[in-house]
């Protein structure tokens, strides 16, 4: 069963060792830390980090991001360990920073994985008895400004707005309708991971297996939930032309 979920951004610059002497985007880093802290308050028996990568599959739970792939020559923790794809490595880092020592799965979902397969993967995560928290890694379009990595594409803003609306409203099913080709054009990395979330957390607040968050029921932290899952957006901005969205559900 799913007991909580968080969306976090996954740019390399989230890793403090990669930005030199400067602290870059402290507010984004703080929002991600906050989202993970809240996620861990759901008292999970397992945290599943879901993030885009070249191919779908589980990675070694003891793996970490190797920052040297982005910054050859730097010395920091994680260098030389089993190197994870960026999104999973950052998710693992956030769990480490949040003090989480419990079981974790690191699940890559292929960047070209179709929505149906993503949804199926999410549904499978939700079916077990294990109290599972989802840490969903990924970003919106990287074509949101003239200086963005992919320059400006006018389709980027409405695409990202569609994602944000769905998350805020808890209508995750809408994420399954995202245009895969358009997402690829817009350099969106989060699409497959978000669709795993959609598969794991159906619309309308009915939790898989009917029990985690029944209408009017109590979450483990005692907060009353009525109706749709409450999604709180902790950060949304595109300071470098890439859409970052941090939310907890």
């Amino acid at each position: 069963m799913i007991v909580g979920a968080a969306l976090c951004a996954s740019p390399p610059l989230l890793h403090p060792a990669l930005t030199g002497r400067a602290v870059v985007l402290p507010e984004l880093r703080a929002a991600c830390a906050d989202a993970v802290a809240r996620l861990l308050r759901s008292d999970p028996g397992l945290v599943a980090v879901v993030g885009p990568a070249a191919a779908t599959g589980d990675w070694d739970p003891s793996g970490r991001l190797d920052p040297a792939a982005f910054a050859p020559g730097i010395a920091c923790d994680g260098a030389g360990r089993s190197a994870l794809p960026l999104s999973l490595g950052l998710g693992a880092m956030l769990l480490d920073e949040g003090g989480y020592r419990g079981p974790r799965r690191l699940i890559a979902v292929g960047t070209d994985e179709p929505a149906s397969a993503c949804a199926a993967l999410g549904a499978e995560l939700a079916t077990g008895a294990t109290r599972t928290a989802l840490l969903v890694m990924g970003d919106g379009s990287a074509r949101r400004s003239l200086k963005a990595p992919g320059h400006l594409d006018p389709r980027a803003e409405p695409f990202d707005a569609q994602v944000e609306r769905a998350v805020r409203a808890g209508r995750f099913g809408a994420l399954l309708d995202l245009d895969e080709a358009l997402a690829r054009d817009l350099m969106v990395t989060g699409r497959p991971a978000w669709q795993v979330l959609a598969g794991a957390m159906p619309d309308g607040g009915a939790m898989p297996d009917g029990g985690a968050r029944p209408d009017g029921g109590a979450r483990p932290d005692g907060i009353e939930i009525a109706g749709a899952p409450v999604a709180e957006v902790l950060y949304r901005d595109d300071p470098f032309g890439v859409a970052y969205l941090v939310a907890c559900l």
Partner: protein
């Protein structure tokens, strides 16, 4: 910090990875570069504020041009630099102050006023200077000037091997300074580009600077706008900044640790870039390709 390769100046301790800018503030009316720029004491103090803001680690205060004529005696040299050193010390209690002098009488007064380092550009011409450094507990720059008297221009200078000559002179002076009681970690060696050398010699010394670095003594280089840069490019004194910075970058790459310079901001940027390339410091802020 391991004591290997440590350089101590004033109360500061620098590891071998640190590259320091020594800013030139001349209390002279007639130095070769921008003559008279800081002859007026108030202007000189403004210049100090400026170079500190630009990232100077050390201030080198001199009262006698390297070139002839206009003999400046010790009393006049003291008059030019000692009150100014005292004023800078008052304004900046922690700033490293170097006195650019070869004379022990001047060195003694300079140290009493607050100098941390005696920059003896003329190759130990006055052997008592090392004794002053020892008795005052300050540092000493041991340089190579080809054995000529201070303020002498090179005339048909030749060496079988200029680098060997520089090594034997500077290492000899360093050993003498240690014997006189100067703290080992407060001694630097300086090949003294252009002093007792033609351009070929200075270029060779720059090319083979690694041989000086390999001695383990911290190496100071004084390259700023000098004739060897000018002759390499056939450019007058006011057009040598780019060449100076190129020589600075090469020297930094080869391991020099202190850079005596007129252009402090530019030198600081060159040194920080070299340090980032060598991995001695982190880049200031990296986001390119990481968003």
């Amino acid at each position: 910090m391991s004591s290997a390769g440590v350089l101590r100046l004033g109360r500061h301790v620098f590891g071998p990875e640190r590259r320091l800018v020594m800013a030139i503030v001349n209390r002279t009316p007639n130095s070769f570069y921008r003559p008279g720029l800081t002859w007026d004491p108030a202007v000189a103090m403004d210049r100090v504020h400026e170079v500190v803001a630009e990232g100077a680690d050390i201030l080198d205060i001199g009262g006698v041009p390297a070139k002839p004529p206009d003999d400046v005696d010790a009393r006049e040299e003291i008059r030019r630099i000692v009150p100014f050193i005292a004023a800078v010390r008052d304004a900046y209690p922690d700033l490293i102050i170097s006195a650019d002098t070869w004379r022990h009488e001047v060195g003694l007064e300079a140290c009493a006023a607050g100098a941390d380092l005696l920059n003896d550009t003329w190759g130990g011409w006055d052997p008592k200077l090392a004794e002053v450094a020892a008795s005052c507990g300050v540092g000493l720059v041991c340089s190579h000037a080809g054995g000529v008297p201070p303020r002498t221009r090179p005339f048909r200078v030749a060496y079988p091997d200029v680098v060997q000559d520089v090594l034997s002179t500077t290492l000899g002076l360093a050993a003498r300074a240690v014997a006189a009681g100067v703290a080992r970690e407060r001694i630097l060696i300086d090949p003294a580009h252009d002093f007792g050398k033609n351009t070929w010699h200075s270029l060779e010394l720059t090319r083979r600077l690694g041989e000086l670095v390999a001695t383990g003594w911290p190496v100071l280089v004084s390259l700023s706008n000098k004739d060897f840069v000018g002759e390499a490019l056939d450019l007058p004194v006011d057009e040598r900044v780019a060449g100076t910075l190129a020589a600075t970058a090469v020297s930094a790459w080869l391991g020099a640790r202190v850079f005596r310079a007129h252009e402090v901001r530019e030198t600081r940027q060159v040194l920080d870039t070299v340090s980032a390339i060598q991995g001695d410091i982190l880049p200031a802020r990296t986001v390119r390709g990481l968003a």
